[in-house]
Amino acid sequence: MFDFDFDPDEKMLTCTFKGRIDTIISSQLSAELESKYISHSENKDKESPLEFGIVFDLKEVNFISSSFIRLCVAAKKRVKDGRFSIRNSDPFIKKTLKIAGLDEILNVT
C-alpha cells in the first residue's frame, strides 16, 4: 500500500500511496512515515528539520481523509526549506486540497 524510494543524489524521499487513505490508514501511516524520515536522516532528532525533500505520489489514490491532509502538512513542516510536494493527485483530491486552501502550500500538481 505504501512504497518508499529514497534518492540520495537528489536528496528526495518519494512516498507512493495506493487506494483509499482513510483515518485508520492515516494513523498507521503516521508512525511508518516518521520511521522512514528518521531512517534516512542524518539527524535522529524528531524536532530537527529533515535535510532531504519529500514527495507524496498520489497517482493510485482515490480518497484522502483529513487525517492524511494533516500528515501532509506535518511532512511539509518537517522538511528543510519546504521541499515538499504532492504529485499525480486525482482531480477530486486536488479540489479537496484547493478548498482547504492548501494546494499552493503543499505544491499540489
Binding site: S89, D90, P91, F92, K94, K95, K98, T109
Partner: protein
C-alpha cells in the same frame, strides 16, 4: 462634506421611499402595464442606446451592444411578463400555504461600464415588475448612456402610471456619495454588478445586497467534442462585444492528443497564436502587474487596437489573440480575467491534468461564476461540473451568451449572474424578479397528525430512546 453627502442621500431616499409607498398600491395589472411600457420604449431605443454606449465608453461593438439591449429588454420581458409578483402569487390547497409577494423598497442598482444600457434596462424592468423604485448609480465613464437609458425608461413608466421617482439616478463619479447612498438605512437592497471592490463595498454597507463579481471562465474541450464546432462557438462568444461579458471564455484547456487539431482549427478560423515575445508584449499592456488585474484600457478593445497598443503585428481580420501558457497565477499574468479578445491556451498531458488546470483557473478570481465544456461524453460533462465551482456550467455552448441565459438554454435571461458563497454572493442563480420580492407565507392550520398522535408521555420518559420515538412517530393509525 460628509453632512452634505448625507443630506443629498436623504433627499434621494425620501423620494424613493415615497415612490415605494405609492408603488405598493399598484395591482398586478397596473404593474404589468408599466413594465410593458418600459420594455417597449427601451426596445425601440436599443440601437440608439447601443451606439451611444460605444461612443461614450469606447468599449465594445455597437451591433453586439444592440443584442445585449435586446437580451436586457425583450428576452427579460418575455421571461418575466407572466410572473405573478403582486399580492397572492400562489395558493397550495394541499399544504395550506399561500404566498404573498411584497415589494422590498428602494433598490440601489449599480451598473457597469461594460454593459451600461442593457444592465440598466434589465435592472429597471425587474425592479418595476416587483414594484420597487430603483436608484441607479452609473459607472463614471458611462453616465450619459446609462442616464439616457434610465430617462427613456422613466418617461415610459410615468406615462403608464408609475409613481414619480420610481427611477432615479445618482450623479456618477463620486465614490463617497455612492457609498453614502449604499449604506443609507432607506435602501432596501443593493443590486451591484461590477468589480470586486464594488461588490465588497455593497456587502460591507450594512444593507442587504446581491452583489455579483468577476469571473475567470475556463473552457475545457474534451476529446469527444466536435472540435471545429467548439472553436467556432468559442470565437462567437469571446468576440461578442469584444469580450466584455464577464461570462466570456478566458482560457481554453485541451489534452495534448487533440492540441494540434485545436490549434489548427483556431488558426483556420482566423485566430492568432502569439509567440512568447508577443505574449509578453500583450501581457504588459493588458495586465496591471501589481494588482494582477486587467488594464481598463484594453477592456472591450478590438484585436487591432490591442495589437497596436502592444506593438505587435497580426494578420488583418484576426479575431482572437491566443497565448500559450504553462501555468496559472502571478508568473503567468495572462491567466487572469481579461474582458477583451485575448484567450489563454493550455495543453495538458492527460484528462486529469486538464481538469486540474481548470480547477486552478476557476479559483484564480472566478470562483462560482461560469465555466464551459465541449464534450459529447455525458460522464465527462458531469465529472467536470462536479469539480468546478461555478454557478453555471454551459455545455457545448458559447459561455457569454450561454451563462446570460434566454438564448442558448433555458436559464433565466439576466445581466447579473450570482456566484454563490465562493464569490461572496448569496446565490448562484441568474438574478431575476424572484430575488426582488419578500414572500410572505400564510400558513393555514394543518395539524401534523404524526406528531400529535405520539403519546406525549413518551417524550418525557427517559426509557424511550430514538427507536421507540421513531416507531411512534411513523406508526399508522
Amino acid at each position: 462634506m460628509a453632512g452634505n453627502l448625507m443630506e443629498r442621500a436623504n433627499d434621494i431616499l425620501e423620494r424613493a421611499i415615497l415612490a415605494a409607498a405609492e408603488f405598493q398600491e399598484c395591482n398586478q395589472e397596473q404593474t404589468d402595464k408599466i413594465v410593458e411600457a418600459v420594455y417597449r420604449a427601451a426596445l425601440n431605443a436599443r440601437i440608439k442606446l447601443a451606439k451611444m454606449a460605444v461612443e461614450e465608453t469606447g468599449i465594445g461593438i455597437w451591433e453586439d451592444k444592440v443584442w445585449k439591449n435586446v437580451i436586457g429588454t425583450q428576452l427579460v420581458y418575455e421571461n418575466i411578463k407572466d410572473e405573478k409578483t403582486v399580492g397572492v402569487i400562489s395558493r397550495d390547497q394541499v399544504t395550506g400555504i399561500s404566498e404573498i409577494a411584497q415589494p422590498l423598497g428602494p433598490i440601489f442598482a449599480v451598473t457597469p461600464v461594460t454593459n451600461p444600457t442593457s444592465t440598466a434596462i434589465y435592472k429597471i424592468l425587474i425592479c418595476l415588475k416587483t414594484r420597487n423604485p430603483v436608484i441607479i448609480s452609473a459607472h463614471r465613464n458611462a453616465a450619459r448612456s446609462t442616464g439616457e437609458a434610465a430617462r427613456i425608461c422613466y418617461e415610459a413608466a410615468l406615462a403608464a402610471g408609475a409613481p414619480e421617482d420610481c427611477i432615479q439616478m445618482i450623479p456618477a463619479g463620486s465614490r463617497d456619495f455612492t457609498q453614502t447612498v449604499m449604506g443609507h438605512p432607506g435602501v432596501a437592497l443593493i443590486l451591484a454588478t461590477g468589480g470586486t471592490g464594488l461588490v465588497k463595498a455593497a456587502y460591507s454597507s450594512g444593507n442587504p445586497a446581491i452583489g455579483v463579481g468577476p469571473g475567470n471562465v475556463p473552457v475545457f474541450i474534451d476529446e469527444s467534442a466536435d472540435i471545429p464546432y467548439a472553436i467556432s462557438s468559442i470565437i462567437k462568444s469571446k468576440t461578442f462585444d469584444n469580450g466584455t461579458v464577464c461570462a466570456s471564455e478566458q482560457s481554453v484547456i485541451v489534452e495534448e492528443k487533440i492540441a494540434d487539431q485545436v490549434r489548427k482549427e483556431f488558426e483556420r478560423q482566423y485566430c492568432y497564436f502569439l509567440s512568447h515575445e508577443e505574449a509578453k508584449k500583450v501581457e504588459k499592456i493588458a495586465i496591471v502587474k501589481d494588482s494582477m488585474s486587467m488594464s481598463p484600457f484594453i477592456v472591450g478593445q478590438s484585436v487591432a487596437t490591442i495589437a497596436e497598443k502592444a506593438g505587435i503585428t497580426v494578420p488583418e481580420g484576426t479575431k482572437i489573440l491566443l497565448a500559450e501558457l504553462s501555468g496559472v497565477g502571478k508568473e503567468h499574468l495572462l491567466s487572469v480575467e481579461i474582458l477583451a479578445p485575448i484567450l489563454a491556451f493550455y495543453t495538458a498531458k492527460d484528462y486529469h491534468s486538464a481538469i486540474k488546470l481548470c480547477i486552478d483557473l476557476n479559483y484564480l478570481g472566478g470562483i462560482g461564476h461560469s465555466a464551459g465544456i465541449y464534450a459529447n461524453d455525458e460522464h465527462r460533462v458531469m465529472e467536470f461540473s462536479q469539480l468546478i465551482n461555478a454557478g453555471r456550467i454551459v455545455v457545448n455552448t458559447p459561455t457569454s451568451q450561454g451563462a446570460v441565459g434566454g438564448t442558448y438554454n433555458m436559464l433565466p435571461p439576466s445581466l447579473t449572474l450570482g456566484c454563490g458563497t465562493g464569490g461572496k454572493n448569496i446565490t448562484t442563480e441568474n438574478i431575476t424578479v424572484k430575488h426582488l420580492i419578500n414572500i410572505q407565507r400564510v400558513c393555514s392550520r394543518k395539524m401534523n397528525d404524526r406528531f400529535f398522535s405520539v403519546d406525549r408521555a413518551k417524550y418525557m420518559d427517559e426509557n424511550c430512546d430514538e427507536t421507540v420515538l421513531r416507531y411512534e412517530y411513523h406508526k399508522n393509525h
